[in-house]
């Protein structure tokens, strides 16, 4: 009975052409990033002083070159590997940690709730970018620590959403009815709580992917994450900003990629929301 609910939601997602289009686009972005070493026409770090800031449509470099004469197509493809990882991985980790903590806090309530949620509030007290900078500073530079830092920023946000929806669901009569039928906590959470809270939590988490990408981009720019010449959309955006007056259409390309990916994710989260809501069908 559990599988049916999720598979029917999946069926509804597949039935919506717009959702399918965005899903295909996201898959294409991820696929091209994954295949970058094989499909990129040039080495992303090999520059040429002779071909600096070539405009879009230049022969061999059809998306132009950057300020060091490196091929933009190759850099965008390779950059996606890091940007997408930094966008998605912290969200997944935060979803796992924050979701579990939030659902536990909401369902158990009382002192457990207070301990978990007040701890989360400590993280909340700092602006997210500042917190990420602080954590990166303490942990040291490098992509792995950057993922940890961004995860720490996102976890309380997901925990808070998870806690509030779970608290709401817990107060519904059907949870008491399930208890009256002799079910233990684990079964109640599985059948009655998750089904009602996972939708909103997933939708919220999907919307955080773009936030995660942007925070990571900022941290990379500040030197906490990956270092040049490694390509990353955020990093590229920041180095190219000096050439914004010379070659604006090339300079905005990494930003366009961030925007496109974020946009796809928020569209998908919208579709997910309506697909998971049985009442809208």
């Amino acid at each position: 009975m559990r599988a049916e609910y999720w598979s029917s939601a999946l069926g509804r997602l597949r039935g919506d052409p717009l959702t399918v289009a965005f899903a295909v686009l996201i898959l294409a972005i991820f696929g091209s990033a994954l295949l970058a070493p094989w499909i990129a026409p040039f080495d992303p770090s090999a520059g040429s002083a002779l071909r600096r800031l070539a405009p879009i449509g230049t022969q061999d470099h059809w998306l132009g070159t950057d300020e060091l004469g490196r091929d933009m197509v190759s850099r965008l493809l390779h950059g996606g590997r890091i940007s997408l990882t930094l966008g998605v991985l912290p969200v997944l980790l935060a979803l796992l940690i924050g979701g579990t903590l939030g659902i536990a806090a909401g369902f158990i309530g009382g002192h457990t709730n207070a301990v978990i949620m007040r701890t989360m509030d400590v993280f909340y007290a700092f602006p997210s970018v500042l917190l990420a900078i602080g954590l990166s500073g303490v942990l040291g530079a490098g992509p792995r620590n950057l993922i940890v830092a961004v995860t720490a920023v996102l976890t309380p946000q997901i925990a808070r959403v998870a806690e509030s929806v779970t608290t709401q669901v817990r107060s519904f009569g059907f949870v008491e009815a399930a208890r009256a039928s002799g079910a233990g906590t684990a079964l109640i959470i599985r059948y009655h709580v998750l089904r009602n809270v996972l939708g909103p939590i997933l939708v919220f988490a999907t919307s955080l992917v773009s936030v995660s990408m942007i925070i990571s981009a900022g941290l990379n720019f500040l030197g906490f994450g990956v270092q040049p010449p490694t390509p990353d959309w955020g990093l590229m955006l920041n180095t190219l900003r000096q050439s914004i007056w010379i070659n604006p259409e090339v300079a905005v390309l990494p930003g366009l990629m961030i925007f496109l990916t974020s946009f796809c994710f928020s569209q998908l989260s919208d579709s997910l929301r309506s697909a998971l809501d049985v009442k809208l069908q």
Binding site: G173, F174, E176, A177, G182, Y191, R195, N196
Partner: protein, 341 residues
């Protein structure tokens, strides 16, 4: 044990002994218990096999808490519940087994159904919890659906929002009955329904009881509904039982002034007997700090000095077997010659 037995020779199916539940109202930064709401205070009663025990009282009088205490959905501060003669959880059935045999139908048919489970899955959940296979649980659910008048072909795969209030309450009843329980507690089960739907559900409830040999505890604030379904009636006021006895006796000759006021407040169909003024003034006192002695004395037309000093015990009413009342002013049998209960 003063439990107001209708037929003292039959052992009760379920018996509550001195159930008490106080809720602490926490305040301030350290969440100290600032005051206590005495929701249910030293309540003892029994329901006998095959009968329907109606429970009436104003909202906030502890009816629902009593129901939850009875089914161990809320842990009592003190007191115990026996089922089939054995204390639940101690010498008697385990809590899990007890919950199979004693079920509850909740008031709000909307929030008591999971919006993301189909009707069939909602009913099948209980059997799955108790180790039935998925297929078997589904078969049971389908049988129950037809029992409560919802053809499974048409309703099994519907979600709660696709049902009317009456249909949802039928699902709630089916969910409670899927275990073949001995006892079903209805907590305001028909209060939220339209009058016409209410009548249908009441008819269903009565029919099921006769067919399945069930025992009911039926909680409602609606005196007419309680009169219609109950063999015996228990009247509660501010966490206490004020009167308990055979429905016919209570409705014909109520002994407690509160019961009398309740019955007088019923709207009548007879235009010559219009209710002119409210028989009771004011709201019930705050259960945080109930009046001393008799809790009803602040609103009672018969209040005497003794009422503020001594809490009236629940004593048998003269000449009527099984009818008990907790009132100093009521004409009762002398304590020296109790009706054997």
């Amino acid at each position: 044990m003063s439990t107001g037995s209708a037929a003292p020779t039959i052992p009760p199916l379920i018996e509550a002994r001195r159930l008490t539940k106080h809720f602490a109202m926490r305040q301030g930064y350290l969440r100290r218990a600032a005051s206590t709401v005495r929701a249910v205070d030293d309540v003892s009663f029994a329901a006998y096999r095959g009968e329907t025990l109606g429970v009436v009282g104003e909202s906030g009088c502890g009816k629902s808490t009593t129901a939850r205490l009875l089914l161990h959905l809320v842990a009592p501060d003190s007191g115990e519940v026996s089922f089939d003669g054995m204390v639940v959880g101690a010498t008697g059935p385990s809590l899990r087994e007890f919950r199979r045999q004693a079920q509850m139908v909740f008031q709000d048919s909307h929030s008591s159904l999971n919006p993301r489970l189909t009707v069939e899955d909602t009913i099948a959940f209980g059997p799955i919890v108790h180790g039935r296979s998925r297929a078997e649980a589904r078969r049971m659910a389908q049988r129950l659906l037809s029992d409560v008048g919802l053809p499974p072909v048409q309703f099994a795969s519907r979600y709660p929002h696709e049902l009317s209030g009456g249909q949802r309450q039928r699902v709630n009843i089916a969910r409670a009955l899927v275990f073949e329980p001995k006892l079903v507690v209805f907590d305001e089960a028909v209060s939220a329904l339209d009058k016409s739907v209410e009548a249908q559900i009441l008819a269903l409830i009565r029919g099921l009881k006769a067919r399945l040999g069930l025992t009911y505890v039926f909680i409602s604030h609606d005196l007419n509904v309680v009169q219609f379904v109950s063999d015996r009636v228990m009247v509660m006021y501010l966490g206490k039982i004020v009167e308990i006895g055979p429905a016919a006796g209570i409705y014909r000759a109520p002994q407690h002034p509160y019961t009398r006021a309740l019955l007088a407040s019923r709207p009548t169909m007879d235009p010559t007997r219009r209710t002119k003024a409210a028989p009771l003034e004011g709201d019930p006192p705050n259960p945080i700090d109930p009046p001393s002695g008799c809790r009803f004395r602040t609103r009672c037309p018969l209040a005497m000095p003794i009422c503020s000093q001594l809490e009236p015990p629940l004593d048998p009413v003269a000449r009527e077997i099984g009818h008990m009342v907790a009132c100093h002013a009521a004409s009762k049998v002398a304590v020296s010659e109790p009706l054997r209960a």
